[in-house]
Amino acid sequence: MKSDIILSGVGGQGILSIAAVVGMAALENHLHLKQAEVHGMSQRGGAVQSHLRISENEIASDLIPLGKADLIISVEPMESLRYLPWLSESGWLVTNTTPFVNIPDYPDMKELLSEIEKLSHHITINSDEIARQVKSPRSSNIVMLGAASPFLDLPYESLEIGIRKIFEKKGERVVQLNIDALNSGRDFALKHTPVSNNL
């Protein structure tokens, strides 16, 4: 088993929390893991990404080679496209559709969505909206993780365990809100993914 995942978004949108939960889940399953993060200047509202690799076998590189990623999970639609050179032919792109507009030349949403729809394997989800529906507006990132969970080679329960471990310091209420967010993202993905895609 091997999953090479690129997480993308804008500094401050919580991609490192997604990485932390997946990391915990991987440890839970005694898998090898390497996860390269971006700290420093880009965290101030710039484009950020994290390379997350999990495998049964030892992992060599901290960075995913071009064209080898199995999955891009993006918490922002334009950012999801920035890493296409890394996505493999059979890879999936799972992205939030709520734009984070902090630049004057942010592209037209229709154009962005049409680029995303050109990909043979993609899921678009308004995770900000879903997070609000489950009364956890700050958990849009975890909704995205839920939406991507069918493509992760990890038992779903271990993601819940991961959430518990990462958020337990913040209290049981925060843990439960994030588990709700995870479930709602997963439900959406399962409902909206064509069966023929062999999940």
Partner: protein
Amino acid sequence: MEKLLLLGAEAIAQGAIDGGMSGIYAYPGTPSTEITEYVQHNKLATERNLHSQWSTNEKTAMETALGMSYAGKRAMVCMKHVGLNVAADAFINSAITGVNGGLLVTVADDPSMHSSQNEQDSRFFGKFAMIPILEPANQQEAYDMAYEGFELSEKFKLPVLIRITTRLAHSRSGVERREIKKENPLTYPKDPIQFVLLPSNARKRYKGLLGIQSMIEQESENSVYNTYIPGKDKSLGIIVCGIAFNYLKENYQTNKCPHPVLQINQYPLPFSKVEKIVDECEKVLVLEDGYPFVEEQLKGFLNINSKIIGRLNGVVPRDGELNPDIVARALGREVKQGLPVPKVVANRPPELCSGCSHRDIYNALNETMREFGKQKVFSDIGCYTLGALPPWNSINSCVDMGASITMAKGAADAGVRPSIAVIGDSTFTHSGMTALLDCVYENTPVTVIISDNATTAMTGGQASHATGRLEEICVGLGVKSDHVKVLIPLPKYHELMVKTLREEFLYEGVSVIIPRRECIVQSVAKSKKEARAKKEEVAQ
């Protein structure tokens, strides 16, 4: 023993704690900050009461760590690569004094300049100081080298440099811990004048340092971190340093690399191992993150070893961080990219946070400068450096910590009026105070804007040594108190800010303007924490 999921930076911290460290000294700087922060929050470190408070700058950190080593205890000092420039005086001389307790100098380089002004390679500094250098390839080695590094330092009575790069510092993986060592007892150096670098003594000490060079080279020769891996296809040999080994391995996932490989993770270069691979292979590719440090040594000025290939002959790009694709291309292997990035994707550079106090002072500054003309604002290293970008375009320099004030002084000496410096509170205490004293000494007409957000914001909100005493410091240095003005950078005070800036720009002497408002990130985090604490209180 238990396995932890750690960043490379954190692995070094844990290795140092378990290896019997008594104190860590540092000034925050990406990508090194997490080493010290890890010690600050570590349970064992807290129980042992290990020193982990921030230092004013890398020089004070280096010297304080040397002082702890003098007293026989094990100490670590850490910094980003450009921080070693600041600490260089103490660093180079610590190789001449030698150490008593083990002393590790951990420096995190930033090839590709993810968060830095340059991509200088600290291995040159290690060679310059003539001390052993360790360069871990992965998180486990980062732990092990910090753990074992103190003993290596004590064996040769020399500081040891641990060199990492951003990628390892900020990448997480499983790390196995080892048995926890005791701290050293307090002991004075055996030789009471070991640390006295008077010329007569320094000459002796320096000869001693030269004398043990062959021994530290022998140590590299025997090091488990310098491994020769045989291979049948000798048309090419590969010398690979630090994290580059992972990229090489990535390219031979299913098959073993057919070429002989020499992994070098400890310096000085192991002579016989290098000689062996160079002798037996037709060509030797050098893969190293950073400058062509090994490659230049092997090639030499006269290029006698023309079989050495790498960054210098373009097989590997001359600048920037390595990755598995660059290494694949250097090996002549195909790189199969995914789809190109669609043209519609726009750049998204970092920016000042919404609600940030620097925004308000830049708005006021820009309006005032409309009267005074362009290109008169010198700035510094911190979040406010983003004021160089649109929509502000407010500042005209960012060179090194503290340079805003001194450059403004030089420009004022040349006749620039007004000559203005914009510096943050933490950068000011790091390296701006001596610069301000130069201005005071000559009463140079400069206006120094210390944009005070009460934290070291860019690196994540570490303590700022200036908090609560900035005016006192400035007056103490000799700035006249009626030219030390404190402002509140909020849109509602915009007119007042513009008025004050104008007045001080016209003053023919040193003035300091302190726009003061807490970093918005810190302030939001604080109120969230307080709200949570309150909720828990109610629940109980």
